[in-house]
Symmetry: C2
Subunit: 351 residues, 2 copies
């Protein structure tokens, strides 16, 4: 491989080499991982956190629970296909689903900026209420803080969620096995492009809407059908590429994907070309990858295809052993390149 083929393949400095936080520390790429690995993991050291999954798994009496949190700082607050409220519910519901859990309830913490419009707040709260209804979860506890004018950005929302784990076996990068099939639940890149279009005032021929949606139903359908699911990951900040790299590194296995198998809508591909983005790195809010035992791959794919939210699902690749810890992608003309995380920042505040 040459450096031209892998423009992002270098290691930024460890967290201690930075004296100040950069936007890229929150971007879902290499720098954010340095922050997590260099500061949060060693300081909060415990076995649950160390699994580095979308959520924590907790034994609680006769149940196994999943517990997860996300803060939402998306800009703009309203975009085609959703708003910060939709995102705050679906994002956390999806993190629970990625643990193989049935989402039970959410908390919501609002940080409001003094002077924020009450009408906008009402609209956002309404979106959260509707998204919760659609996802089958309840918003059961909450908190509101107000910060001075100029010290916030309208509204930030944190949600945390609890789910009941429905999977018999551990769904996590550590469970991925050589030979696993990798399924992608649909076309990629829509959320990031929807946000970017509003932010930059771009108009495309069609309005590209965010794919923001709750993913628990298709995941639970796989588990109910006793598909042997090894790992699940929703594709948010950092896109498909970052999710696959994280899993390959954590599992210390090789992930190989075929570029032609990865669905990207024509309008999204066009927008990416105009903006200079690679759809592999663009954020999604209603897409996931499932690593399943190879013998279950076809059955899993047809189950996904039968679900309205996964109508574009595809088998995009498989897991091997070498080169260990790397993701490679074969292009339609047969060239293979290494896929790495972004080291910097593609699109800040996308969720």
């Amino acid at each position: 491989m040459t450096s031209e083929e892998t423009p992002h393949f270098h290691c930024p400095l460890p967290i201690d080499e930075y004296t100040h936080v950069l936007l890229a520390h929150g971007g879902g790429g290499r720098l954010m991982h340095r922050l997590i690995e260099g500061l949060f993991l060693p300081m909060f050291h415990n076995p649950t956190l160390a699994t580095r999954h979308d959520g924590a798994l907790l034994e609680c009496g006769d149940r196994k629970l999943a517990f997860t949190t996300d803060s939402y700082v998306v800009r703009p607050l309203f975009f085609p296909g959703g708003d910060i409220g939709t995102l705050a519910v679906n994002g956390t519901v999806n993190d629970l689903a990625m643990c193989g859990a049935h989402p039970l309830c959410l908390s919501s913490g609002f940080i409001l900026e003094e002077g924020f419009s009450v009408a906008s707040l009402r609209r956002i709260v309404q979106s959260m209420s509707q998204a919760a209804r659609e996802a089958g979860v309840q918003l059961v506890t909450g908190d509101t803080k107000v910060v001075d004018r100029g010290k916030g950005d309208g509204v930030y929302i944190n949600t945390a969620g609890i789910g009941v784990v429905m999977a018999d076996r551990l769904i996590a990068p550590a469970s991925v096995e050589p030979g696993d099939a990798i399924l992608l639940s649909g076309d990629i890149g829509r959320h990031g492009i929807a946000i970017m279009a509003v932010r930059e005032g771009l108009a495309f021929e069609t309005t590209i809407e965010s794919d923001c949606a709750p993913l628990a139903a298709p995941v639970l359908a796989l588990l109910k059908a006793r598909i042997e699911v090894h790992c699940l990951r929703d594709l948010t900040r950092g896109g498909l590429a970052s999710a696959l790299v994280e899993i390959a590194e954590a599992a210390q296995l090789h992930i190989g994907v075929r570029e032609s198998a990865i669905p990207v809508r024509e309008d999204v591909r066009g927008a990416c070309e105009i903006l200079g983005f690679d759809p592999l790195y663009v954020a999604n809010e209603g897409r996931f990858v499932a690593f399943v035992a190879w013998r279950d791959a076809e059955r899993a794919l047809s189950l996904l295809l039968s679900h309205p939210l996964c109508a574009g699902a595809a088998l995009i690749g498989s897991v091997g052993t070498e080169p260990q810890g790397l993701v490679t992608m074969r292009s339609s003309i047969g060239a293979e390149r290494i896929v790495d995380m972004l080291s910097g920042e593609q699109l800040p505040r996308i969720c």
Copy 2:
């Protein structure tokens, strides 16, 4: 009563009458309650939220869980007796304790401002780690977002927590009964004054430190001794007064307290006089009130007094029936006045 005696006894406008969010909407007083009652409760309508307790109670298999969240936006980030990290752990641990729950684990969501000092972040994360160790909880899952320079205030932290309910009966305002004794776990007003002193650059003869501390141990000691605990509430934003008013209103009972029984340190009282604050409304982060069956009052008080964090505990009053839904305070010279929530804002961003 005259209006001079009850300066805050008027109803501000309902949430719909405000077009923009005010700082006071996050202040823990009347305006925040209007926001909760006028917007969040009706929109997120469900029986769990409707109990309006510090946390939600959830049946989960053979266990009953408590679930709660808080965002922390305190200014300054570091203050005598703690920092935003200590607060973020203890605040949520205490909300779980107030549900009669043994705190199990916390999530943490960081919203960092671009340019925030990594050394300060490290110090805060270290405080969280130490506070978690002292409170016996684990930080098991987390999230980091970065917002643009000027769109945050260094760092905001959200924590959510899960606890296992240890109480046999529901600990909530609805369980308060006429005749209940009201115990206060120690002297009030230290957290608010500690913050204010730093913020305004005031120097008192002694440094007043925040009372920030985890309250699960004394609460669980009461439960273990089978004290009949009816309601618990930690005294944060809005102070002792707001906590008592909330409970009196929710229980539709009368709460009577004696001013002389409420411990306030001399230096705190002096600082309050200088600043024009009423200690009843000043925030605390390591104090709570316990409503217990009268026959258990003495035993509960001596249990609290034996705990280092509650060395200044006192019996401050009792519950009656009339005047329904009101809190009254008898002064040392025998005059009785109504205690109400603040309608506006005493001290923004205190936690």
